[in-house]
């Protein structure tokens, strides 16, 4: 390796993993091959990256470039995705960069917990389920329940209208919270492990995310999660809730320490 390059680490697999698993996927720099660096029964998924792009100073600049970040984050995920469903993989967060392969091996030797986490995640796949509420649809449906008062005029009508709006807002909050809980609970029943992440904010169309969940499912039982989603669609669809299922993902949400307890 020349001093113009560094080693980017995507994740960790078992030491015996076949390197050709990553033969079809390019490195994060767009050209370097993906290689396994092995030590002590685990292997780091790596590729060479130019220091002109990934040294501390250019990296800090690049992180603020939306196009660059989008490409690199997709490339990071694409490399890890090549292993999904074929062997167990531990995803690293973006940005583990080493100056030599020897330093990567030192990291592996100093991290015996990685082998334990690989065993724990063997045969398990991560899926994402988002529950999205069409807030406008639910609001108009709830508002239709109080139209009798519309005959009133003037100040009294105004007060009643305000009161009704507050009531509807309250009802919607309560519904969103209850629906999120019920959905996460039902989906968790189909999973070995589950986590509810903070919802992404509502968009201009008034679609409000009420659930942003990740579910760790045993390979071969994916359909049970699909069944849970279908059941929730039937139960909450009339209230304006829809569900979006994604995956299988590398187990980003279940690879870390906090998931170990």
């Amino acid at each position: 390796m020349t001093p113009t390059e560094a080693i980017y680490v995507y994740g960790v697999v078992r030491g015996g993993t076949a390197p050709d698993l990553f033969a079809d996927v390019g490195g994060i720099d767009g050209r370097s091959p993906v290689r396994l660096v092995v030590a002590d029964g685990t292997a780091a998924i790596t590729s060479a990256v130019p220091l002109s792009e990934f040294d501390a100073e250019p990296l800090e600049r690049n992180l603020k470039d939306s196009g660059w970040l989008e490409r690199k984050v997709h490339a990071h995920n694409d490399v890890l995705a090549a292993a999904v469903g074929k062997t167990v993989v531990l995803p690293l967060r973006f940005g583990a960069i080493y100056t030599s392969e020897e330093h990567v091996r030192e990291m592996l030797r100093a991290s015996p917990e990685l082998a334990r986490r690989l065993e724990r995640l063997d045969g398990l796949l991560e899926f994402g389920v988002k529950g999205v509420l069409d807030a406008a649809a639910l609001r108009s449906r709830l508002a239709d329940n109080g139209v009798d008062d519309a005959a009133d005029t003037g100040g009294r009508a105004y007060m009643l209208q305000k009161q009704r709006e507050r009531g509807i807002a309250e009802e919607m909050r309560a519904f969103a919270a209850a629906c999120a809980d019920a959905s996460h609970e039902r989906l968790s029943q189909a999973a070995e492990d589950a986590t509810a992440n903070p919802a992404q904010p509502s968009d201009v169309a008034g679609r409000e995310m009420l659930l942003n969940g990740a579910y760790l499912v045993r390979a071969g039982r994916e359909q049970q999660l699909g069944d849970a989603v279908r059941e929730l669609e039937e139960r909450f669809g009339a209230d304006g809730v829809s569900y979006e299922l994604t995956g299988p993902w590398p187990p980003y949400n279940f690879a870390g320490e906090e998931a170990e307890s």
Binding site: L63, K64, E70, V73, L92, E126, Q200, E222, Q223, G256
Partner: protein, 114 residues
Amino acid sequence: MSTPARRPGELLRNAGGGSGGQPAQLADVLERVLDKGIVIAGDIQVNLLDIELLTIRLRLLVASADKAREMGIDWWEGDPFLGRGQKNGELEDRLKRLEQAAGIDGDSRSDDSD
């Protein structure tokens, strides 16, 4: 055109992080790659503060990949927090070192807000 009804079985085959099928949605990939996964410090220091702030901005502003594209995904440009991320990091580090030297638990500090 309205969105066709989604069948979960179909999505299981086509979606997200899998090796085939449709590319994963930007918002989902950003959230996972920047905010999840194992954190291991390499030889080159990545300013994680910037990355964390990016993720926070993402949560505040991006509701979907389509929306992000519509917006040009330039939401951090001119952002005062991101602009001075490096300085914040240095200050944080210095504060942490001082607190450790003084034997103060740094974590209790954040609970003091009113």
